[in-house]
Symmetry: C2
Subunit: 413 residues, 2 copies
């Protein structure tokens, strides 16, 4: 058994009854939720979760003499604008009561749940009113870093590079992990220089993020779903709408400064002179142009910040990426291009849940008085690896179906 | 008389008959044109040009014993998509024949005109066919740098800073001019490290430029004119459509990392969750959000590049700016914010014509065999300065009217 890391479960602490099964990261666009279920949980036969049984990080027997929980971590997301779906989900799973139908629920008056992201402030009253739980707020950047470090140290084949359609896992020596630049692409983008556990600085960011892609995409294509918008981009051709160097130079390159004819000179620049209205453009082409514009921009600003601090390793995460080949490829190409091949973009298989995982992990900080400690282990690293691959590649279709069926997505890790 | 610099006029050179009165910079969105008229030009009473008589850089008697031209420089722009308007303008002014109705036109078979920008390649055949002139192509970056250096060294009160609505002219010691970062915002954006006359390197750029603002703006608002789109932004409120930190954090700031409640977290991010269609948003708000997104992004990437090369001075030019208070303010704030107040954005009064001026200046390189040399002087620096101010501030309305009337804009410098 390959013991990886500790997560404490503490139902009674100085802050009241805390439920380690649940942690939330409430961003501007999405609510990310991590919860824990015991293996003897009555919900283990639930259809929606059955298929992810082998795709999870097991939380199992520790080799200590302390009490333990045997179970697994689950991941779910909801649109922040549909926060009620999230409340209903928590309620239906009784996560606010400990998640177990047969458990003796602690007095809801005192229940505190770890939460991070701006929504931990914005929706605190709503959660108190509807579910009777209060948020124990954790700093957003702190949680992102904690989540990233946890994944990088704990999960086998978590980080990978992606270039020219080739995915290559990177085994990072734990002693050589720091420093790195963590780029979390949510609604906006945060760029964090990470020097160790709890040692970090938010050095930059950009307001052209996932929210911009989704917001502009929604206005331009009437597509109301992030995943559908991404899906559209697969069939699109950005050259229909972007102004290329070749469009300006009459089909030739601008060789002197190394700009090929197909380099994008101006995103959406062709819309200036085309005698077309919005309706005349295909949603697929618009989506692809938008995706490329934003991915490339993030890649460029990230590289410039990595350069500034002498960081060779740039790790991209956040729900914008969603394991999308084209997104990762564009970011990778941008980093490669601007760094003259000196820097490499890396991605994480569990990219979207850094903040929620970090919040979940923050229970550990208060574990000294905890009654129970459990360890997160990888029961079968190779099967997790392939499951992770599948998860990365099938996240969108899965999540789309989930959204259609139940208004949320639940992933095994 | 304050002699500033030399520009040669050479009608006969080894490359055939060259007309120093005309130089073109043909970009992806706009054709910029610089031409020279003698003071005894019969067109001096032309109404459109009359008003700019005192707003020009005089080209006057030199103190050498060489022959000279006494006249002024004119500036015009056309949309590249309406290149025929440009051809007609040149034809109507007989600029391709030397510009003078009473001149003895050189054989049009041999006429070469300095041209730069991608359109010098793309439209070479068209100009040859329609006007019988060939383009003597000059490198685009070279021309931008030549134009910028010329303006910075020659024109009194050319460079200024802009912050909080305050415009402040900067007198740059010629011996302390280099190095600086030149950021030219056309359809796309070029960032050039300038170390001296002819000594430069294009170090970066971004494909989110003026073409993106115009292209996206056109699709989102149906506004077909760049100047109108800019005008709209004056009345707009980007907070209607941008997701602010306060929107995520329930009205509060994210103080720990210095993000105020009004900081834009995600451009166009509110469009995700608002239950609105494109038609429900005001064009003014969209335009302002777009302008801020692109200006801020350019400011940020520019600063990161300046930092990389240790450049304190960042000079922004290109037709995207057009002396717009809000654009300059956003760029300035971005540079100020990201540099913690250490770097300052500077702007140029004659921002849009760097490339065309550089191409015009390139006649000088071939002046050794020239028959005539003339000097560009500022006849009255103070009046030029105020004229420049006016020009900067009234460029848009002027150009709009000009466009309505004649399909082009003519500015006195």
């Amino acid at each position: 058994m390959d013991l990886q890391d500790d997560v404490s479960n503490q139902q009674n602490s100085e802050r009241g009854s805390q439920i380690s099964h649940l942690a939330l990261d409430i961003g501007g666009s999405l609510v990310k939720l991590v919860y824990f279920s015991r293996n003897n949980d009555s919900r283990r036969d639930d259809d929606n979760e059955q298929r992810s049984r082998n795709e999870c990080l097991g939380v199992s027997d520790s080799d200590t003499c302390q009490p333990f929980l045997d179970g697994r971590l689950h991941f779910a997301k909801f649109e922040t604008s549909k926060i009620n779906d999230c409340l209903e989900f928590i309620c239906s799973k009784k996560l606010h009561l400990g998640g177990f139908q047969d458990c003796t629920a602690p007095s809801s008056e005192n229940i505190c749940v770890k939460a991070t992201g701006g929504g931990a402030y914005k929706f605190a009253d709503l959660f108190k009113e509807k579910l009777g739980i209060c948020f124990d707020k954790e700093d957003e950047m702190d949680c992102l870093v904690t989540g990233a470090n946890f994944l990088l140290k704990t999960v086998h084949q978590e980080a990978f590079t992606y270039l020219d359609g080739q995915k290559e896992f990177v085994q990072i020596d734990h002693n050589d992990l720091y420093p790195y630049l963590l780029v979390n692409i949510g609604s906006g983008v945060s760029m964090i220089k990470v020097d160790g556990d709890g040692k970090f600085e938010r050095v930059s960011g950009t307001n052209l993020g996932g929210g911009t892609f989704w917001g502009l995409g929604r206005l331009l294509t009437k597509c109301k779903n992030f995943d559908e918008l991404l899906e559209l981009s697969h069939q699109g051709n950005n050259r229909v709408i972007d102004m290329l160097v070749g469009d300006i130079y009459g089909g030739t390159e601008y060789a002197k400064i190394g700009l090929s004819a197909t380099t994008i000179a101006s995103s959406f620049g062709k819309a200036i002179s085309d005698n077309k209205e919005l309706e005349d453009y295909k949603a697929e082409d618009i989506s692809r142009s938008l995706l490329r514009m934003i991915s490339n921009n993030i890649g460029q600003i990230s590289y410039l910040n990595a350069l500034r601090f002498g960081l060779k390793r740039i790790i991209f995460a956040g729900f914008f990426i969603r394991g999308q080949a084209y997104t990762m490829d564009t970011i990778s190409v941008a980093v490669h291009y601007w760094s003259n091949g000196e820097a490499k973009a890396m991605f994480l298989r569990h990219e979207g849940f850094l903040g929620a995982l970090g919040a979940f992990r923050s229970y550990e900080k208060q574990s000294l008085d905890g009654l129970m400690v459990h360890k997160i282990v990888q029961k079968n690293p190779s099967s997790i690896s392939s499951a992770g691959d599948k998860s990365c590649c099938s996240l969108n279709s899965d999540s789309k179906n989930e959204n259609e069926n139940s208004g949320c997505s639940v992933y095994g890790m």
